[in-house]
Amino acid sequence: MIQVNNLTKRYGPSRGIEDVSFNIDRGETGNIIGFLGPNGAGKSTTIRILTCYQPATSGTATVAGHNVFTESLQVRRKIGYLPENAPLYPEMRAREYLDFRAKLHRMSRNDRIAAVGRVTEKCWLGDFIDRPIGQLSKGMRQRVGLADALLHDPEVLFLDEPTIGLDPNQIRETRKLIRELGQRHVVFLSSHILHEVEQLCTHTIIIANGRVLADGSPAELRERISGSSRLIAEIKGGVDETRSAVQGISGVGAVESGEEPDGWSRLSIEANGTGDIREEVFRLVADKGWALRELRHEVASLEDFFIKITAEQRQDAGV
């Protein structure tokens, strides 16, 4: 559905995206793709290229079976796009605006009435469809923008930060709507909010500093980090003594230790492989006659992964 090969966009010396590639097929595991990255990572730039708003400096991209550079009009007929902050014409009424947009998609009069009715219902515009857009709140405008993107029943829907600036209730409603839309359309969603992507998306692409850092389902990404998951243990005993004892257990990698002010040692144990070594740690402590007050698995979340790779990226860049 979306194929991106070595896409590069340079504005000045530093901004833009560099050699971005990914490939998304319809319905492999679901249809909501999360495009995740910190602010300024190149999310909007990538989306602008995929929606044919800006051409790339180099590389190719195919959306809904058409090349975004050579068959731009065909692509634009098959996509819906909600830019960041949902720009709209404030002087128009919502219904007027939707009718205007439907006309641009060459719909006949009857089709337009039907389409506006359909999206009005879907995005709950009923109460304010006849009010000027300039009078609407941020959340309402977001819904008008989303309704606009849905008018022509697009194959692919691009949403750039759809929940930014909304209140918690509106965020929850919007997410519910996006989940619904994922059943029918391929939704390509950009966000800098991790748990949003983790909750909603079936496929995640992480981007930072204009480069793709990871690409896979949230479960796959989590699996990639579970190999280096940690065990936290607090043991009553000397720091060096406990550390060398724990290091003796098979399957234990690096161990970091620190002394707590009350005489306990806090060990952070890295496990090689995916086996659970908590039992071995417990047996060791029991054999030695030490006391144990905490033994817990530090669950690796997508957040850790995200922080880790973006931090690595920053180190590599020497920032």
């Binding site: 044919c52 830019p83 002087e91 128009m92 007027e96 641009l104």
Partner: protein, 239 residues
């Protein structure tokens, strides 16, 4: 090109929603009315629309029309609606032409409101219908050129003030300054300046003469600025 009527319709209705349109109409009618009265309603004055249409109107339009065109593209850039517009199946030329025709139609409505002057004149003496018609043809052509220039500068910047000032300057130079220099100089400079001057191309219309060379001058320069505007719009996306 099938999207042009849709875009024109939106543009025209937006003009009527915005307060600027009404301010512009008011300023235009007040200024042209003052010129009309001071010129015709003096003792010994001529009962003719030639002065108001032939001499003053192009000057008034230099200041009025850029105010109508300044927001056309700049506002789209500033508010970001250009992004939704250009990701709909619409091409760059359609966007510029849609806006151009919207502004031109609005301008024609503005011109229609001046029909009151020939009507008033006809109360005092026989109206030269041919002259009045050729004046209107000339004004339509001049106005279209001014609007094209305004759209060109509007498509260069997201700042409406810059757009309006640049249009003022360029139009003022080619309407007043070039004409003035042409009158002062002799020989080649004079001929070149007269060919560039908007006023000297317009003068024949105000004498009741619709000369095809002047029609071609206005239409081709209008197209040139519209073409530039389309190219600027394309260029902005390539950056």
């Amino acid at each position: 090109m099938r999207n042009i009527p849709t875009l024109t319709h939106r543009e025209l209705s937006t003009q009527f929603y915005s307060p600027i349109a009404y301010i512009v109409i008011t300023i235009f009618l007040v200024i042209s009315g003052i010129f009309f009265i001071s010129d015709n309603f003096t003792s010994g004055g001529e009962a003719s629309v030639r002065d108001i249409f032939g001499n003053y109107m192009p000057l008034i339009l230099v200041f009025i029309l850029p105010m109508l065109t300044m927001r056309l593209m700049s506002e789209e850039y500033r508010s970001g609606t250009i992004e939704t517009l250009m990701t709909a199946p619409v091409n760059d030329a359609e966007v510029i032409l849609g806006k151009f025709f919207g502004a031109v139609l609005f301008y024609f409505v503005l011109l229609a409101s001046t029909l009151v002057y020939p009507i008033v004149v006809s109360l005092y003496g026989p109206l030269d219908v041919g002259l009045t018609l050729s004046c209107y043809v000339g004004l339509m052509l001049v106005g279209s050129l001014y609007i094209a220039v305004g759209i060109f500068f509007s498509s260069c910047t997201r700042n409406q003030v810059i757009a309006v000032l640049c249009s003022f300057v360029l139009l003022a130079v080619f309407t007043f300054l070039v004409h003035y220099i042409g009158q002062q100089q002799e020989g080649v400079v004079r001929v070149v300046m007269q060919h560039l001057s908007i006023i000297s191309h317009f003068q024949d219309f105000s004498r009741g003469l619709v000369d095809i060379t002047h029609v071609v001058f206005f239409l081709s320069s209008t197209c040139l600025f519209l073409f530039f505007a389309v190219k600027i719009l394309e260029f902005r996306r390539w950056r």
